[in-house]
Amino acid sequence: MINCPHCGASNKDGSKFCGDCGQPLITRNGVTCPMCDNLNPPSVTACTNCGARLIPVGVTPSEEPLELLEVEEGAVVEGVEGEDTVAEPDDRGESESLEEFADVSEAEPEEAMPPWLEKLRELPSEEAASEEEATRLAPGELPDWLEVPPEFEEVLSEAGRAVEEEGVPRAEIPSWLEALRPAEEEGVAEPGELAGPPERTGLLKGIRGTLGIEPILAIPPRAASLPAFSAPPHAYEHAEVFDKVVREPARPSAEVVRPRSLETLVASTMRWIIYLIVATAVVVPILRGSNWAEANMPVTASTMAMYDAIEDLPADSVVLVSHDYDPGVAGEMIPQAKAVVGHLMRRQVRLINVSLTPEGARLSREVVDEVAEAHGYEYGDDYLSLGYVVGVEAGLRSIVEGFGGPGGTDFVDRIEDVALVVEFAGAPEYVRLWLEQVQAPYGVPMVAGVSATADPLARPYYRNQAQHQLLGLMTGLVGAAEYERRAGHPGLALASMDSQSMVHIAMVLLVLVGNLAYLGGRLRGK
């Protein structure tokens, strides 16, 4: 186990970063840089390859080893001088945008500088006081390895000539960008003149040619010196545009002008309008007793298949009917059950009713008893109810396998003798349950009526061309209406179809109107 040197949390062997604070773990071999994966010696604070910090910012710089401050770039070092060497600014253009920042930092008394900052100021002047080392570069001078090799000099000067020949007008470069120009380009200016006034406050006091606050946002901390800066001419134009945009005062947003109360009023009114539309679309067809849908109801292939599967049953065969719905979806399922059980009784088959939900048994008893009375069915002789089956898979299997046993019925001896399983599923898992536990192992033919929500999840079982899983599928109240139409016995479901149609049209119109309002608002906003 490795203990993190920063937060002390223990980590597994071989971890590169602490699981708690995310800092690099110092292993025996050193510190791995999180940016470039370079392995650094344990004592460094910045990666030797990319310059990223390896020590959290929470650590005060006084704890940091200060060796790395012997930097090569003379520009940075030169600026950090004592207060008395700071020249007065010549123009205040640069400082205007920094006033806000200046006000904030000027509030801090400069005498109360933290000791680590004092050290920072002292150190470079100590360096300046000491004799020049061979490795120190003159201000603006690039190290050897960064200088432009002679073979490229030609190319660069050619490119420069080509630009001049084309007559491309030289772009107006803002002062802060000019300051970044490498000092070796002669004839442009002394770095001191066009670089703008030196910073007067804060850490960068005395440094010339610094960027304004705004562009600083995305600069990563790099200890390396700036490479030779050369860019195509259009980049200068883009930079100028960017500078202009950034310096412009923010325009107030247009949305603020509209009073908020109107918006909320419109929104809440819309809410009631929508509710009213839906309620009207439901209630009016019911009260009018219109039956346009009854005459025009198309029957889908899946419902037709279910009807045919039941129609083809020989009389006196045994059908296992499962009512797996709860009161929440009873509104859709009871019309389905009524239509199908009525059809089954007209076919003179014997029914065994079960349910995988507690309420389903009770709900189905009402339905089945009512229909049975109409067809002269006797409980016990013509139909049974085995009640609630508990235990999900195990319970289902036990019922199915217990047909021949002591707890079973005398309708069938084994599950294979059942001619059809009719499943009313309020939720998709019930269909899957019956398919997996009864239809697949025992090969019993099966049809299903499902709630509208469960239909897409049951459809792949119906659309199985390679193997019979579901012979037919009925969907929701609409499916019940189709079944009633096909069977020629109209009931509640068919009568509801007018309301259903109206509400569906209302929903589609709401979607379209909502989108029109949204798109219209967007176009207006543009």
């Binding site: 209630v283 007793g289 509104g331 859709e332 536990q437 509208a452 792949p460 193997q467 899983q469 509640l492």
Partner: protein, 216 residues
């Protein structure tokens, strides 16, 4: 008489539930609690009378020579009750282990034979017009196969993020899957709306027909 009473109670409770559209109110909370309580109570009664009594207590009540195997499920069931207290909850572990073991076994068998293999077989259908029956059927089969593979590829998260023919292939199929799933979820949602509307219509029929008698 009792029928009229039940209809009135049901109608009033329905209207109380719909009052939630106006605002959350104490009557709605009352109706909500009534519903939850009655469901649980009803389920408990059904389990006691339909399951426990005929399948456990009555066999146990027979003479010991016949009924003794039912001691085991009774014992396991009682152990399961210990789960209510954390100090003795470990006693119920064996009951749960038994339940989970049986459940897992049935689930594996069912998932394999009932869903996995048949659905894969269903995708392995002919895309040749002659065998499929018609050109439309062949095109449909191609779409089905492509859609199924795309959906499966969409959920494949363990591929690398780099380039390479393999990752590009998976990303292509994942894009196909994304579009298929968009249409799938659109269809699911459309059906869901249909379901909700149907339930509303049924309630409206109850209120207007059974309660107010405005509809025949």
């Amino acid at each position: 008489m009792s029928e009229v009473l039940t209809v009135w109670i049901a109608a009033i409770l329905t209207l109380i539930v719909y009052s939630y559209l106006l605002a959350d109110n104490p009557l709605y909370r009352l109706a909500e609690h009534l519903f939850v309580g009655s469901s649980v109570g009803y389920a408990a009664v059904v389990i006691l009378h339909n399951i426990l009594r005929p399948r456990l207590l009555e066999p146990l009540a027979q003479d010991a020579g016949v009924g003794w195997p039912y001691i085991i499920p009774l014992f396991l069931g009682l152990l399961l009750l210990t789960k209510a207290r954390t100090t003795i909850a470990w006693l119920g572990n064996s009951s749960l282990a038994f339940l989970f073991g049986v459940g897992a076994a049935l689930a594996i068998g069912g998932a394999l034979l009932g869903s996995f293999l048949p659905q894969i077989q269903a995708s392995w259908v002919s895309i040749w017009p002659a065998t499929a029956g018609s050109v439309e059927a062949a095109v449909d089969n191609v779409c089905l196969a492509v859609g199924t593979i795309g959906t499966l590829a969409y959920f494949y998260f363990t591929m690398g993020s780099g380039r390479g023919a393999r990752n590009a292939l998976i990303r292509f199929w994942a894009t196909v899957g994304k579009w298929v799933m968009l249409i799938t979820f659109g269809a699911i949602f459309g059906n869901r709306i249909m379901g909700y509307v149907s339930l509303l219509i049924e309630r409206a029929y109850f209120l207007l027909g059974d309660w107010l008698g405005l509809v025949g």
